[in-house]
């Protein structure tokens, strides 16, 4: 019985404490942020970039979590609307199912911008994104230059339904098709993990005796593939990735990977907040706002600054 009285007390205390921690001085604009995950290093870095930019431009950020669950994300966006934010930045978990969240924001006259992942909704105010097709083309051009336009290529293209992976692969294939000496001998799909990259690459290496390049849809797949290449002692095969995460840059420095594409998530977050604040100040962006990217290979990997290892 008394324990239940205690329960009431504890929960109220939790709320009070939490509120104390959560309160911030009122500033010009409040931006609501719903990222797809709060444990994925990529989104943690993006959130940090957002905080930096918000500090600089004097905006307040409100984060709600989604944990890669569409229902949780929808609830969070509704909470942001109820809290009366000026604009919502969201990386939708599902391009179609997120439509309800965009409609809810539009109904409340709150602009809603997508970041990193896009939505099919017409209510999307802007999409702060990478230029997947162009990145794919540039990776293709790099492969042409490195191979002299000759050799076999295996593609580990990532999830079959993911639009970023699809458009990047399209751009890549377009460049490769211009060179009759280059041949794509396999294209396989998988999740974006190192484990799956390793397994697929092992299969590809067994099936293909003569390979010059393994193209991977992201760095995790590429790192898995590079492990398989090392194990098979076929180190002449060039492995390419995407994202420029620190372990991939290290792998490029050490020659285990040939190429990654730096998409700095911190800068991405900054660009998101900057675009949002500009919009609220009356500077309307286009429908697509592109984050800059950088090809990282052995020629410049040493000069890329990596974040210090996390403190214990």
């Amino acid at each position: 019985m008394k324990a239940r009285v205690l329960l009431v007390g504890l929960m109220s205390l939790a709320l009070v404490l939490a509120a104390g921690a959560g309160r911030a001085a009122a500033k010009e604009f409040t931006l609501g942020v719903s990222l797809a995950s709060d444990v994925n290093p990529f989104y943690i870095a993006m959130a940090n970039g957002m905080k930096m930019q918000a500090k600089e431009t004097g905006a307040t950020l409100r984060f709600v979590t989604a944990n890669e669950d569409m229902a949780t994300q929808l609830n969070g966006v509704q909470d942001l609307i109820a809290a009366g934010v000026n604009l919502i930045l969201i990386s939708p978990i599902d391009a179609v199912a997120s439509g309800a969240a965009y409609d809810a924001a539009a109904k409340a006259n709150i602009p809603i911008m997508s970041i990193a992942r896009g939505a099919k909704s017409e209510k999307q105010t802007a999409f702060i994104r990478m230029n997947e097709e162009q990145i794919g083309e540039e990776v293709g051009q790099w492969v042409v230059k490195q191979t002299g336009g000759k050799g076999n290529i295996a593609m580990l293209s990532g999830p079959a339904g993911a639009s970023f992976a699809y458009f990047m692969a399209q751009g890549f294939k377009r460049e490769i098709a211009k060179n009759p000496g280059l041949r794509i001998v396999a294209e396989l799909h998988s999740g974006l993990t190192r484990e799956e990259g390793l397994k697929l690459a092992e299969d590809v290496l067994t099936a293909q005796r003569d390979l010059a390049v393994i193209y991977a849809a992201n760095d995790e797949i590429a790192l898995g593939a590079s492990q398989a290449v090392q194990a098979a002692k076929r180190a002449t095969i060039k492995v390419t990735g995407l994202n420029g995460i620190p372990p991939a840059v290290m792998a490029v420095r050490e020659g285990r990977m040939a190429l990654t594409v730096g998409l700095n998530p911190v800068d991405w977050g900054k660009l998101g907040v900057k675009t949002a604040v500009d919009y609220l100040n009356g500077v309307k962006p286009g429908k697509n706002v592109y984050i800059r990217h950088l090809l990282i290979d052995s020629s410049n990997a040493q000069s890329i600054k990596l974040p210090p290892p996390p403190k214990k």
Binding site: M1, R4, L10, A97, A100
Partner: protein, 331 residues
């Protein structure tokens, strides 16, 4: 620490702590007061700290968000009263939503609703059969079902959400009647039906009896196995209904939806003061338990509390709720 205070109300009265004992007496006399009181205090605190909490928009928002969990939790209450529990509800929410969505995409909304409810009922009855006739513990039986049904949902959809639902169905998730969202109305209807079922029908009485003392019920002529199967069937069918409402809200069948619903709904039932050993519990208190969980998550979002802290708090509350259940029994 707390444990020292967990003595019966009469004992503290003798100890001369008059002020607190008056509270204890009141709550000892009306134990159901504690859950609404908890909700009231939390809401008051949230309203004090955020100007946005007590707005029509936000209250509607909370009720709408609570609907799916509330429907699952009503079913969970029935199973827990009958002395079992069901870990498969989250997976059933997802499978029923996906199957229902698939049927609707092919043209029949009524067919989709029936399919969703039917899948839920089927899984529930299977759980009931495994638990009662095969005598497998509810934990193992429904843990197996949880994994199996999740796999079935992924197989059925190929891991890809089912979209392009007819708009006549998705309005269920977006529209309201006189400002009350349709999911809330559906929840209210389900709540009323199962309140009547548990309090005023022979089946309700038998569910309480079987949960309170299975052997005594059997000896007094209750078909205990049939009652158990009925309780699990109800829980499964309601999880199916929740899956359909969620599908309308998300405008898609999501094979990964509904994760952790089993744990959150059990937490809601326990917060509502039901006993995990069976024979006790009321749907009206479970609904209050659901609202406590939803108000907590909503107000933490309104107050801009970091998501990591939210996990810690929600987890802590589940532990406290379970501990409270234990104290209540020993005190």
């Amino acid at each position: 620490m707390v444990q020292f205070n967990a003595a019966p109300a009469a004992a503290t009265l003798a100890g001369g702590e008059r002020r607190r004992s008056r509270w204890s007496l009141l709550l000892a006399r009306y134990p159901w007061l504690i859950t609404p009181l908890a909700l009231l205090v939390m809401s008051a605190v949230a309203a004090l700290l955020s100007d946005h909490f007590l707005t029509v928009r936000n209250v509607t928002n909370i009720l709408n968000q609570a609907a799916v969990l509330a429907i699952v939790s009503v079913g969970m209450t029935v199973v827990i009263i009958s002395g079992g529990f069901d870990l498969s509800v989250g997976s059933v929410v997802s499978l029923a939503g996906c199957v229902g969505a698939a049927v609707m995409v092919r043209g029949s909304i009524a067919g989709g609703v029936l399919a969703g409810l039917g899948i839920g009922l089927l899984v529930g009855v299977m759980n009931g059969v495994v638990v009662s006739l095969l005598n497998v513990s509810p934990f193992i039986a429904t843990l197996g079902a949880m994994v199996l049904v999740r796999g079935a949902a992924l197989l059925f959809t190929g891991g890809v959400p089912i979209v392009n639902l007819p708009e006549t169905f998705t309005v269920v998730g977006t529209e309201g009647v006189f400002g009350i969202p349709i999911p809330v109305l559906i929840t209210a209807l389900i709540f009323a039906v199962f309140w009547v079922l548990l309090q005023f029908t022979p089946l309700g009485l038998k569910i309480y009896a079987v949960g309170g003392n299975r052997e005594a019920s059997r000896l007094s002529g209750v078909a205990v196995n049939r009652v158990t199967i009925a309780a699990y069937g109800i829980c499964g069918a309601l999880a199916g209904a929740a899956g359909l409402v969620l599908t309308a809200r998300l405008r898609s069948g999501q094979p990964t939806a509904g994760e952790f619903y089993e744990l959150t709904s059990i937490a809601a039932v326990v917060l509502g003061g039901a006993s995990l050993t069976g024979g006790e519990g009321k749907v009206q208190r479970t609904v209050l338990g659901v609202l406590i969980i939803q108000v907590l998550s909503n107000s933490l979002n309104l107050l801009n509390v970091h998501s990591y802290w939210q996990r810690v708090l929600v987890g802590g509350i589940i532990i406290v709720a379970a501990a409270v259940d234990r104290f209540r029994r020993t005190a």
